[in-house]
Symmetry: C2
Subunit: 383 residues, 2 copies
């Protein structure tokens, strides 16, 4: 198995405004995307990979002259990998409002000539899917072999199955949930409060001030990061190890770093605050909070999924306490109520929510086997 090699992003402009679930609309906008593999003659081998909070269209491969720029799901997507780019034409799209090239809060609002900032309209999972569908139209893809995602990406895949039931044959939903819990929302709101109350946030107009609310973003990322890891995994990797264990192995008795876990989280928080946009963080956490397809059906998820036509693959991880296996099982049960074909894997893995991004032979083999099935079911080439 090898990486897909050097890749480069494309972009596409959409002049027609997009009506959003909030009632607002976005005028002209650009989506940045990448593709891997080759679209076949009958355009039946396309796979859309949807990204989570802090990822992007850059799913696999590396950028020329940037050896460390490997895509976020490179272990999953590539030649000979579970989602085999020798067979499938894989598309990654940066979502609207994100900060990796597609139109977002840091771009100028055509109506004002200034960055949107906090005035960028709040977009929902369903809005992202509508924008992705337009991109699919433009690329000439009527129907995806599969739409796939983990975490927030899984919500997008699920929304695809409801909004455009005829446009995907398979729906792959990993480490996801049909809706956030009060605890999930609470953690998101802690992150938002940290950003919103950072004086450098300037009500979202920090671009004009030449600053970034780094402290708020750092705290937001630290608290998020904790929820991505399992308690056991943190105990195993960090435990109570002191950063100066090799020196005197003593407590420092100040507010600097004592424990390795502090050092790790602060460092990751600092790094994140250097590349991620604060307004994007705010709006993506709101998209997470708002996702609740059963809401229009009096809380009945089975009814919400009644119009779906795809076959489903779901996977969850035993130590994921952010979106626990129980939440995936809710989706599975609601699909079975509708007599959908569902494959569900509950994987005993120690890495918490992050497990969906990590190498695990059982997990990878399950996805590989499922894509073999997708391949075996491929429509024969039309004349």
């Amino acid at each position: 198995m090898q990486s897909i090699g050097t890749v480069s992003p494309s972009s596409m402009h959409f002049a027609e405004p997009l009506a959003l679930k909030s009632g607002a609309q976005i005028g002209g906008y650009t989506l940045v995307y990448e593709t891997y593999g080759t679209l076949n003659a009958n355009r039946s081998n396309a796979v859309l990979v949807c990204h989570a909070l802090n990822a992007s269209h850059h799913v696999a491969g590396t950028y020329a002259d940037q050896p460390k720029s490997t895509g976020w799901w490179d272990n999953m997507v590539g030649p000979g990998k579970p989602v085999d780019t020798d067979r499938f034409f894989v598309i990654g799209v940066n979502n609207l409002g994100s900060c990796f090239g597609s139109t977002g809060p840091m771009h100028d609002n055509p109506a004002t000539g200034k960055p949107y900032g906090a005035s960028f309209p709040l977009v929902t999972v369903e809005d992202w899917v509508a924008a992705q569908a337009r991109l699919a139209d433009a690329l000439g893809i009527e129907q995806f072999a599969a739409v796939m995602g983990g975490s927030l990406g899984g919500m997008q895949a699920l929304a695809w199955s409801m909004m455009y039931p005829e446009r995907l044959r398979h729906c792959v939903v990993i480490a996801s949930t049909p809706k956030l819990s009060a605890q999930n929302i609470a953690f998101n709101d802690v992150a938002r409060q940290a950003i919103l109350t950072d004086p450098e946030y300037h009500g979202g107009d920090f671009y004009a001030h030449g600053v970034v609310p780094k402290n708020g973003l750092k705290v937001a990322r630290m608290v998020g990061h904790i929820t991505y890891l399992s308690n056991d995994d943190m105990a195993e990797k960090f435990g109570r190890k002191l950063r100066n264990a090799a020196e005197n192995n003593e407590y420092k008795f100040d507010f600097g770093v004592d424990f390795e876990i502090e050092s790790y989280l602060r460092y990751q928080g600092d790094k994140f605050s250097e590349y991620f946009d604060a307004n994007t963080y705010l709006l993506i956490t709101k998209a997470l909070d708002y996702f609740d397809p059963a809401r229009d059906f009096n809380g009945d998820l089975a009814r919400a999924l009644a119009g779906t036509r795809a076959e489903f693959f779901l996977a969850s991880f035993t130590t994921d306490w952010r979106f626990s296996p129980e939440r995936s099982r809710e989706i599975v049960e609601a699909l079975l109520c509708n007599r959908r074909r569902v494959t569900y894997a509950e994987i005993d893995a120690p890495h918490g929510h992050d497990a969906f991004l990590l190498e695990d032979p059982r997990y990878m083999n399950m996805v590989r086997a499922y894509y073999q099935r997708i391949w075996d079911q491929m429509p024969t080439v039309r004349a």
Copy 2:
């Protein structure tokens, strides 16, 4: 059962410096405390109640003309209550470095004439216990019938049993742990980063600037609060209920409050930031992080507890994911290795870590029964 009624705090000054675990020392200092009930003739009925992060010496009763000032463990301590003040002489002490009257960061450092601020020496659980022991000396109490506490208070009770084995007959440790996990430390460090990076913190000297790092304290409290509640309890109490459910029950599509849980946590965070001292929050979270009595015994908790002489009562709560039952069981097992007498109750309660403060008949009855035993074992009055 009735409340203990009107109470009032006392204070005691200690002129002799206290040597701290860090190597630093505190010069003259004052401890504020309250007592309930009457010390008997042979001084054998005293119970020390140790407080957790955000509590104080004000354990039970109310202050005159402040009807809402009920003590934090009023359901536990009082006439006819599980810790019956008709039998026991109960003492609550505000710990050094706290912000409810005992010497702390907001008080003047005699050496400089200015508030200690961030220069207040970091105190440990063991330092608190040493200071409490001096107070016991001053009150003429050689041996406590019991030393008792929940969470961080339980750590103090445990430290008493190791540091002064002959000075307590019973040790009551509720919802506690022999040491924080990496995840516990991580949450504490998020809270500290929120405070330390708030520009209003001013390196700990915010008193001189006439401000308070309210935003940092608010975020710190919000993240802490989440860890005190169980996932199920939050789901039950708040779920995804919108704050405007009674009006249009629609998402607001802005960064204000959508969900009840957001409203609740922000409100609690705001309230907390109005009365709690930021430097105190920092130093108490460090005391939590540092507590690890097995550390001096190569991680062997049984050896750390080998010198204890008390009988023990421990309780934990099934949905407490901050200090889970597993952590209490570690203490129980280490005590049993030493052939100590141990009573352990694992209580099936939905309220997470906060359960130790809440009314629950099974919990209250267990504590009541244990205090009956303490009473039955009271030494007979010496001539």
